[in-house]
């Protein structure tokens, strides 16, 4: 070990470093090769499978956003347009009116519009909806189940690890391709 000349260890270290860098590049290349077949340009987004959703209410509280990115959406084609909508009214409503004591929605996010006798249309005001799933529970239990929860992608920041997914009791959250970002209810078979 001749350490008297200053240049020698430096060059030795430089050599080692060079080798390690090559190794690092090779490792990255290998990683790239391993992933090459599996990566794709399209990304993933989170979505709720309405068939697995248990309407527990976690979506309103667990999202990292101040106002959850999960909202109630309405599959109008499945809706019975009931007068006594169990998604809109409290169980045993005092009267079938839009008064606060009769409404199930805590934020008054569901609008009830008369269409024709005896049918009413229910639409969701997303600005107001907090994703608490009270209406979803009511509609699924006693109605057609046309109200259900979905992650709205104009709001979702698409966290790498969805905070709601981790606490979902129904294991209803999953990654879906960004090109098909919604799992809408289209039939009762679901």
């Amino acid at each position: 070990m001749n350490a008297s000349t200053p240049s020698e260890p430096t060059s030795r270290r430089a050599f080692l470093r060079h080798g390690a860098r090559l190794l690092g590049m090779t490792a990255l290349g290998a990683l790239g090769g391993a992933l090459a077949g599996r990566s794709r340009s399209e990304g993933w987004v989170w979505q709720i499978d309405p068939a697995k959703c248990l309407h527990c209410g976690n979506c309103a509280t667990e999202c990292v956003l101040e106002q959850s990115a999960v909202k109630c959406v309405h599959a109008f084609a499945l809706c019975g347009y009931c007068n006594l909508c169990t998604g809109y009214f409290e169980p045993e409503p005092n009267a079938l009116t839009t008064a606060a004591e009769n409404q199930l929605c805590p934020t008054g996010a569901i609008q009830r519009t008369f269409i024709e006798d005896p049918y009413y249309e229910y639409t969701i005001d997303e600005e107001l909806c907090i994703g608490c799933a009270k209406c979803v529970e009511g509609c699924s239990r006693f109605g057609n189940g046309s109200l259900f929860l979905q992650i709205r992608h104009d709001r979702c920041v698409n966290c790498n690890e969805c905070a709601i997914a981790r606490t979902c009791p129904g294991d209803a959250f999953r990654r879906v391709p960004a090109s098909r970002p919604y799992l809408l209810k289209t039939s009762h078979a679901q």
């Binding site: 350490a3 200053p6 240049s7 430096t10 470093r17 390690a20 690092g24 590049m25 990255l28 990683l31 790239g32 391993a34 992933l35 990566s39 794709r40 340009s41 399209e42 990304g43 248990l54 309407h55 527990c56 209410g57 976690n58 990292v64 956003l65 101040e66 959406v73 309405h74 599959a75 109008f76 499945l78 809706c79 019975g80 347009y81 009931c82 169980p91 045993e92 024709e116 049918y119 639409t123 699924s140 239990r141 006693f142 109605g143 057609n144 189940g145 709205r152 992608h153 920041v157 698409n158 966290c159 790498n160 690890e161 606490t167 009791p169 129904g170 294991d171 960004a178 970002p181 009762h188």
Partner: protein, 440 residues
């Protein structure tokens, strides 16, 4: 309440069925509204992010190596904080990306998006060639902490070295956890992202505020003592082709740069040859530590192996299975319609499937934790060994791995000031001894 319960009981079995046929609106001809589906971020937006990342990296390199401008990096930091931080709300980010890669490696069904691969690889490639330019001003986490640094306090070198182990531990934890497919703990326990989002889990918001407050005095606390991606970049930067140099010309060993670095990355010159009385002791210690290395790895792997079931509790499936089994032994009333009760109901529907899934997941955790434990042992051993090896240094120079390339030291150097014409050459300090050549 009673009536509610009755109704619930009635509704019980099949939650979705067509109880009320949809009307056809023959009278009014009412058209059904369409359920809107606002699209997620378009693909080109993701590519734009990658382009911005690449551009910012290139700009950072230019500012560090060519322009040697702290001011430029400062404004780039502000841009990065604004763009990747507050605008993109912290996702997508390079710090979390290694987990996606680990997850993709072990789960063929997960096609990792190219954006994520780019965020993972670009800063690493840059670090392999030119050091941690990403940390300097591109990473919003680092940039934000750099911006809030007011009055740097020098962390003692021994503490710096000791705590420097933690990012590697966190890296190992994050990667092994992600490899099991259970989740991404690095993202979950990220204190800075809640700041960018102005919201988040209370614990993480509090941690983020604490990190920033600490960051007023301690330079980049998260980067130095926690950031797992920083650990990766550190490794890459250790072998980088080019490096940040304090002075473009020759070092006069005036020690001014030592003070300029708020991150404790400046290393002083060292003769490299120990005085004879120390040599034997040094060699013996090095040999002992090299011998200890495999022991540490084995011990770590052993502990990690036993650790598996404990860590597996963090997995929702395992947690549910355990709660289910506990519930069987000593029932707890969780109340009606609570998430706990609902998940237990789900468990009861298919206990076999759940237990099998939980068992499989825990098996993965046992393996991953054994690897993690071995990694911790390795990190510790290598750290001890590296602290026992003499590195010969002729000049004051930033440590390749620890340097964030923030460019603060440049203008602390009188030689640089002379070069820029900000100081007459006559006023610059001259080396007491013979000026030492700089290896280019």
């Amino acid at each position: 309440m009673v009536s509610t319960l009755c109704l619930f009981a009635l509704g019980g079995e099949s939650p979705a069925e067509q109880r009320f046929p949809p009307p056809d609106f023959t009278e009014t001809g009412h058209q059904l509204p369409v359920t809107t589906t606002p699209p997620p971020r378009a693909l080109w937006v993701h590519y734009l992010d990658v382009a911005v990342l690449a551009g910012a990296l290139a700009l950072a390199l230019w500012l560090i190596y060519k322009k040697r401008s702290r001011r430029g990096l400062f404004w780039l930091s502000i841009f990065s904080v604004a763009w990747f931080g507050f605008w993109k709300k912290g996702c997508v980010c390079a710090i979390g990306a290694p987990q996606n890669v680990a997850y993709a490696l072990f789960h063929p069904e997960y096609a990792v998006p190219l954006t994520v691969v780019a965020f993972f690889a670009l800063p690493l490639i840059v670090a392999l060639f030119a050091g941690r330019a990403f940390c300097a001003a591109v990473c919003p986490h680092g940039a934000l902490q750099d911006l809030v640094l007011v009055k740097p306090v020098k962390v003692p070198a021994w503490l710096e070295h000791a705590l420097g182990v933690l990012p590697f531990v966190f890296l190992g934890f994050g990667l092994s956890f992600a490899a099991t497919g259970s989740g991404f703990p690095v993202c979950r326990y990220d204190p800075i992202v809640p700041i960018f989002r102005l919201n988040g889990p209370s614990l993480m918001v509090a941690l983020g505020v604490l990190t920033l407050l600490l960051g007023l005095w301690v330079g980049r606390p998260y980067c130095r003592f926690a950031c797992p991606y920083g650990a990766l970049l550190r490794l890459a930067a250790l072998v980088s082709r080019w490096r940040v140099r304090v002075t473009p010309d020759s070092c006069t060993q005036c020690r001014l740069c030592e003070n300029a670095c708020p991150f404790g990355a400046m290393r002083e010159p060292s003769p490299g040859v120990a005085s004879p009385p120390f040599v034997r002791g040094d060699r013996r210690r090095l040999a002992a530590l090299l011998g200890l290395l495999p022991v540490l790895v084995a011990a770590g792997a052993l502990i990690g192996h036993r650790l598996g079931p404990a860590v597996a509790k963090l997995d929702p499936t395992v947690a549910l299975a355990e709660r289910f089994l506990q519930q069987q032994q000593s029932p707890v009333d969780h109340g009606l319609m609570t998430p706990e009760a609902l998940s237990l109901q789900r468990a009861e529907r298919d206990p076999k499937g759940l237990l099998q899934a939980a068992a499989e997941m825990r098996g993965r955790f046992v393996l991953a934790c054994a690897l993690f434990g071995g990694w911790v042992g390795l990190v510790l051993g290598v750290k001890l060994v590296s602290l026992s090896v003499h590195v010969r240094r002729a000049d004051f120079e930033p440590d390749r791995g620890a340097c964030f390339a923030c460019a603060r030291c440049f203008r602390s150097c009188p030689q640089e000031l002379v070069r820029l014409g900000l100081m007459p050459a006559a006023e610059a300090p001259r080396p007491a001894s013979e000026p030492q050549a700089v290896n280019a």
